[in-house]
Amino acid sequence: MDTPESSRRGFLQSGGALLSAGWIAAHWPAIARSAEEARAQLSTPVSMTAPPFRRFEFLQPLEALDVEAIAEQIVPSGATPGAREAGAIHFIDHSLVTVFDWQAAHFRAGLADFQHTFAQAHSGSAFGHAAPALQLDYLRGVDHTPFFALVRQLTLLGMFTLPEYGGNYRQQGWKLLGYVDVHVFSPPFGYYDARYTGFVPYPTTTERHS
């Protein structure tokens, strides 16, 4: 019998599998091109590398286009890496068939509603194809929905958790923060403690306890 312990371990370990790499399948070139066009609208320094396309496991191409566009608005690119460079979309996709598979149906329903509502207001066009300024404006109106909260959470996890879960590509999320993945540190840790001259006791304390 599958015990709660073993199924729980299985649940946790299933997230450790590496993503299958590879460019998007040949029959989706148009979609890949649209995504590239959407990306090109954001000014991005050449020094940063976006992850290569990998086969999506959960998201359909048009879904991936819109979700990545939302993620890019949540943590925009710029002088430092954003959701795009950190490959948050690949974490989101992979997590919805692994560690967050219990959220998959909720995610897909929320996304369908998001896409439908956006298309209705914008003559049938896709969110991912809209101009960044329009995307920003539209998200301001829906940023308190449970769907937005879920994309936000998955985006941030996709940027800052261990790369083995599919995001944080080349540790670019950690680079944005300035976080260094090392296990042993020695003081001083920062600018201010390097200049600390020591704890000076309070006169009242000395009197009371001497």
Binding site: G15, I74, V75, P76, L139, L156, F160, L162, P187, Y191
Partner: protein, 551 residues
Amino acid sequence: MSARIFRPGEQVDFVVVGSGAAGGVIARELSQAGHTVLVFEQGPRLGADVFAHHDELKVHYLHGITNDPVTNPQTFRDDPSRQARQLDHANPLVYARLVGGSSVHFTANYWRFHEVDFHEHSLLGDIPGADFADWPISYQELEPYYSKVEWEVGVSGLAAASPFDPPRQKPYPMPPLPVKSSGVLFELGARKLGLHPFPAPLAITSQVYRGRPACMHCGFCGGYGCEARAKSSSVWTVIPEAEATGRCEVRSASYVYHVDTNARGRVTGVHYFDAARRSHFQPARAVVLSANGSETPRLLLNSASNRFPDGLANSSGFVGKHLMFNQGAGVYAQFEHELNEYKSVQATRVLHDFYEVDPKRGYYGGGGIDARSSATPAAWASAEGGELPRWGAALKQRLEGYTRTMLCQGHTTSLPVATNSVSIDPQLKDAWGIPAIRVTYKDHPDDLKFAQFMQDRSEEIMQAAGAVRTWRTAVEHRRGGVHLLGTCRMGNDPSRSVIDKYHRTHDVPNLFLCDGSSFVTSGRGQPTMTIQALAFRAAHHIGEFARRNEI
């Protein structure tokens, strides 16, 4: 000597339910006193090496070491007249579910309670909307046991550094951990305002201590197990010492779901599920529940019988009542230069200038403020509420300031309110088919007022320290917590408390309770030190009762 393994069905002197801060201490003390002790732990036994993988997703977001909302679900409501519902894939009451319990993942802030905590009702009188009461013991009675925790479990600190410290017999056995930049800035700001910051006492080694290495400042501390065994968790301290007596077994992956009683109203043992979900009966001469402030009352309520129709040891009706979490609020503050708060322990400076209640404020409340790290990467980035930006350019700016940001946090009181409680959900069951916890909770208005007061003070300190900008966290009603307190309070009056001052239940002579549930008041935000001092004291008295054949 190596750990004892008891034969199936072999009667032991004591069954201890829970291997955490309290259960570990009680197991050590009773086994060292010559008794046979079988400790039950729901969760697995993990080695320190498991935590060498700094995995936020698994440990923090996927409930890797805590009670899982899928297998161990709970419901919540803020109004007792409403039906409780499950939160969105979260439990209101969170505890670590592995050998060592929540002492594995705690932040290890080890403030003692002050004298005032034990007799505040006598000083202040009744508070409307709260069942405010004195403890049946004083600080002086507990003081030797605080010293025992500091020396035998291992606490770093600087004695008498705070002018508000209660009296103590002995200094700390280890010096404080090295100050971090957050501590330096906090100290600078607080001293400018005439306040008295001091080195934070922590149950973390600052030097080699009792066979454990010194902290190596890895930074994955609060919320995680310690890969270096520098955190003084029960699993690295008292539990191996209990096992070394040859009289103690820690049975992991073994979930106690029922306490059994006989016709005389005495406990005979416990029923538990093993890892394969087979049910067994374990006989014992006496039982100690140290399952924490959520699971101890649940176990009592789920052990109702004809003789104890409202739950075991619940003639007072107080089992599960008066749940307290500790309130709190603070500010994130960004500075010009790098702090690198992701390194080392969470807190290195604290102040107790606002520990005592000031009646002039017009409401109850006391607490401490500390300087803390801004937390691990994903948790820090995901934080929301209050003034924190959620997305877009403002979030990006905050993310870019990670290494220059700290948190200044107030840790404050919760009042004991009768309707705030752990009870049994009428429908929901856990993965083993055992009725689940229902939490009913709404903060007393004074709890929120004082949390706001401490946030204001925190902001002043950060501004005095030269913060270039600050973000306030939310001051809001708690919908859960990790400090699980007050649900089987101790007292002299059997009609107004569950256990006596020796942790014996008023109703069942061979049943003892010791954990956060024993608390009468919440303290000021850091309960584990007091849980362990109570456990040393309880074990002393329980051992004496056993020796004198008074159980």
